[in-house]
């Protein structure tokens, strides 16, 4: 046996088609000028574009056909997220897809059918993962009582401001449960928007005290904990896919600048001090893409096995490592321009900081990988 373990990597025709379509769509519909228009106000994305995405069926890619999805599995989301990351196009797709996965895994297809159908049709949803800043501590302190009354606080709930449905992990007695919180039942002031370093994003703190859900909207059972753990891994993978896309765009941006900017009478791209770090980014990016498509090969609708967990963690560690490096170098290599708001390098360095902190940073994942691989 080798510590490398499973090294499968396959790519279906459906994935190839999705990658193709998503790239074209993002390029045509969401140039960076459009992305920039939404940075400092509103939900951070164009509502019309979100409707188009819903119409393309991306919200249901990984949901069962019986719920209106395409049944292509969660691996089919990877090329789509990569393409969106490359265009720096956010929308609530990532949150919505994860909420769908969590529902499917925690409540089951039958019970969640109407919710899932809403999601597949483009109704945004999200999961309130965190109560503090520590992804390494999955303890849940928020609670729900028998009557459906919630208490506690969630932080950094991505897209909470636009989600029609928020899945809230809570403790019911000693067991983790999932409260399905409808946006329409949120009282005023329940959400406090965050100010994020990545201005293409929106998240909010969610104050649960005083909010109730219909007891029928509480999902319980032994599968909830596993569903939460597995969906976190999928979250890591999808953020990794998106980060890999952003790293590729960031590299393109730097390379383009280095090909055209002159200093001391030479194109600055001819200086090895700038050229070789670009190669480092390229190699790191190639590795990230290999990991994300490997992980996309191994994840599926059932509980994730150790191979899939390893793959998701490696994808996240590698993609965020390379994006952090690429974003940092992009600013530096643009010289004075890189220090401005106007230069696109700022978009990538900000995205890098946000992405690395989603679902655990590279160090976090390497620590878990050590346990999986060395013990």
């Amino acid at each position: 046996m080798t510590v490398l373990g499973n090294t499968a990597l396959s790519f279906t025709e459906e994935q190839a088609m999705l990658l193709d379509v998503a790239r074209d769509f993002c390029r045509d519909k969401s140039p960076l000028s459009t992305v920039r228009e939404h940075l400092e106000s509103g939900p951070g994305f164009d509502a019309g574009l979100w409707r188009e995405i819903a119409e393309l069926g991306w919200c249901g890619i990984s949901l069962p056909e019986s719920c209106g999805g395409s049944g292509l599995g969660v691996g089919a989301l990877v090329p789509v997220l990569e393409a969106m990351g490359r265009a720096m196009l956010t929308t609530p797709l990532l949150s919505t897809a994860l909420a769908g996965q969590l529902l499917l895994r925690a409540a089951g297809q039958e019970r969640a059918e109407s919710w899932l159908a809403d999601i597949a049709a483009g109704s945004a949803a999200t999961v309130a993962w965190l109560e503090g800043g520590d992804w390494g501590d999955p303890a849940i302190h928020s609670t729900v009582d028998a009557g459906g009354a919630l208490s506690g606080q969630k932080r950094f709930v991505v897209d909470a401001g636009v989600a029609a449905l928020i899945l809230v992990p809570v403790m019911q007695g000693d067991e983790p449960a999932l409260a399905l919180l409808r946006r329409e039942n949120l009282p005023d002031g329940a959400l406090t928007p965050n100010v994020l370093i990545d201005q293409t994003r929106r998240s909010a703190n969610l104050h649960l005290d005083g909010i109730s859900v219909d007891p029928a909207d509480i999902v319980t059972g032994p599968q909830v904990e596993r569903a939460l753990a597995d969906t976190r891994l999928l979250g890591a993978l999808l953020v990794a896919a998106e980060a890999a896309g952003s790293a590729g765009a960031c590299l393109d941006t730097v390379v383009e600048y280095l090909k055209t900017r002159k200093q001391f009478g030479k194109l600055i791209g001819s200086y090895q001090a700038l050229k070789h770090p670009c190669v480092d980014i390229l190699l790191g990016l190639d590795d990230a893409r290999s990991f994300i498509y490997h992980a996309a090969t191994l994840v599926h609708d059932g509980p994730l096995d150790a191979d899939a967990e390893i793959a998701c963690r490696m994808a996240k560690a590698q993609a965020c490592e390379v994006l952090s490096y690429a974003g940092d170098r992009a600013v530096q290599f643009h010289g004075g321009m890189g220090f401005t708001w106007e230069c696109d390098a700022q978009l990538y360095i900000r995205r890098a900081q946000w992405s690395q902190q989603q679902f655990g940073d590279p160090q976090h994942h390497r620590k878990r990988l050590a346990t999986l691989l060395l013990d």
Binding site: A139, N194, R201, Y271, S324, Q332, G336, F339, Q357
Partner: protein, 400 residues
């Protein structure tokens, strides 16, 4: 003029007491760490008032001549003040180009009229100064500046564009590097140095929004701007030499600067302090062994700089690569600072995704903004890549 240790010690106590009593309360908005971060009028007014107060108390320009607003004292007193200001963590004396670049230059080579006209107002923060060296096309290549200055009677006519003008929108004067002779054989010999007013027709500034989202620099456009001929410092063609001379003053009061705390140093202590309460895997983040290894590296980087400054003063310990420590200090400090600030965000967990303006951002998003601002030092004044060339060529003697 020699001052006894005893005198300095007594003076230190006096300054310390004054600073303790006069350190302004938190104004409720983030104060700039450096003069490059003065982004709005609110910050400007606050800092102007503070600098004026420091000067009025006799703690700024202490070694400058009394007749021009200074204190006429041993620079050692000013150094004591600067150290105490750092220790008391007071706001910066923000008129840095005036206090540290233009002022000492005027003091050393200006006419009596120039001294009378400019020096006191620099100290009192009445006149804010800015610097016009960099141009859009020649960021790392100052000697190649193309802004033209053409003599026309009693005036020079300026045309061209400067960039990264810190406080360009607030400044009354600029130290300007412009080309008077485009035909000079060596590009450096065609440059001249001016004390150029900003309030004449044909000078326009456009604020540059920084990566942080804030303001602090401008682009400065000269369109047939006419300035008096006596704005010229030295002779035509001496611009490069004089510009280089201004760089010497940067090293503080002993080198001729007016003194005053010019930037708030962000230290590894601040990072450690800032990580209090952050948890990783359910434990305090500073208990994580991999984090500890990283933090110790950061401590060592900072400590090495302090020790290096001391070693630079020990002759027999600098013979191997003479000049290496001072010549590499910009590269070392700016890169180390960037790494440390990035680490400080990385270790924050999900809170590292917040930014200035979020009520729950750790220290108001201080580290996020500080990381972004750190690039002003790894890029400005010669990028780290250019700095590495300089060290390689001047210290190691490697070929160009």
């Amino acid at each position: 003029m020699s001052t006894s240790e005893q005198q300095l010690q007594e003076f230190r106590a006096e300054v310390s007491a004054w600073l303790q009593a006069n350190n302004p309360p938190d104004p409720g908005f983030l104060l700039p760490q450096t003069f490059m971060e003065v982004g709005d009028e609110r910050q400007l007014d606050f800092l102007r008032e503070w600098q004026h107060k420091v000067w009025s108390a006799g703690y700024l320009g202490m070694a400058w001549p009394r007749e021009y607003g200074g204190g006429g004292m041993d620079p050692a007193f000013q150094s004591v003040v600067d150290q105490e200001m750092r220790r008391h963590n007071v706001p910066i004396c923000f008129n840095v180009i005036g206090l540290g670049w233009a002022g000492p230059l005027i003091k050393d080579i200006g006419t009596h009229e120039q001294k009378a006209r400019y020096l006191k107002n620099i100290l009192s923060a009445e006149d804010i100064w800015c610097q016009g060296f960099s141009e859009p096309e020649h960021g790392s290549d100052l000697g190649n500046a193309q802004t033209r200055a053409v003599r026309d009677g009693d005036e020079y006519v300026i045309n061209g564009q400067k960039i990264w003008t810190t406080m360009g929108n607030f400044a009354r004067y600029m130290i300007l590097l412009a080309r008077t002779n485009p035909e000079a054989e060596r590009k450096y010999d065609g440059l001249s140095f001016f004390l150029s007013p900003m309030d004449v027709p044909g000078v326009d500034t456009r604020p540059i929004r920084k990566i942080t989202g804030e303001y602090g620099f401008t682009e400065t456009f000269f369109t047939d701007a006419r300035i008096p001929a006596d704005c010229l410092m030295g002779e035509e063609g001496e611009g490069w030499r004089i510009a280089m001379q201004t760089l010497q003053y940067e090293r503080g009061a002993e080198a001729g600067a007016a003194g005053g705390l010019s930037m708030i140093r962000v230290t590894v202590d601040d990072m450690i302090q800032g990580l209090q309460g952050v948890r990783r895997d359910g434990e305090p983040v500073l208990r994580d062994p991999v984090v500890r290894d990283q933090v110790v590296r950061a401590i060592m980087e900072e400590k090495a700089m302090v020790l290096g400054a001391r070693r630079a003063g020990v002759g027999p310990l600098t013979t191997d690569y003479p000049g290496s420590l001072p010549l590499s200090s910009k590269l070392r400090l700016s890169e180390s600072t960037r790494r440390m600030r990035q680490l400080a965000i990385n270790l924050q967990g999900a809170e590292g995704g917040l930014y200035v303006g979020d009520a729950q951002a750790r220290q108001g998003g201080f580290w996020q903004r500080a990381y972004f601002n750190s690039f002003s030092a790894t890029i400005g004044g010669g990028t780290s890549q250019v700095q590495a060339n300089i060290v390689a060529e001047h210290i190691l003697g490697l070929p160009k």
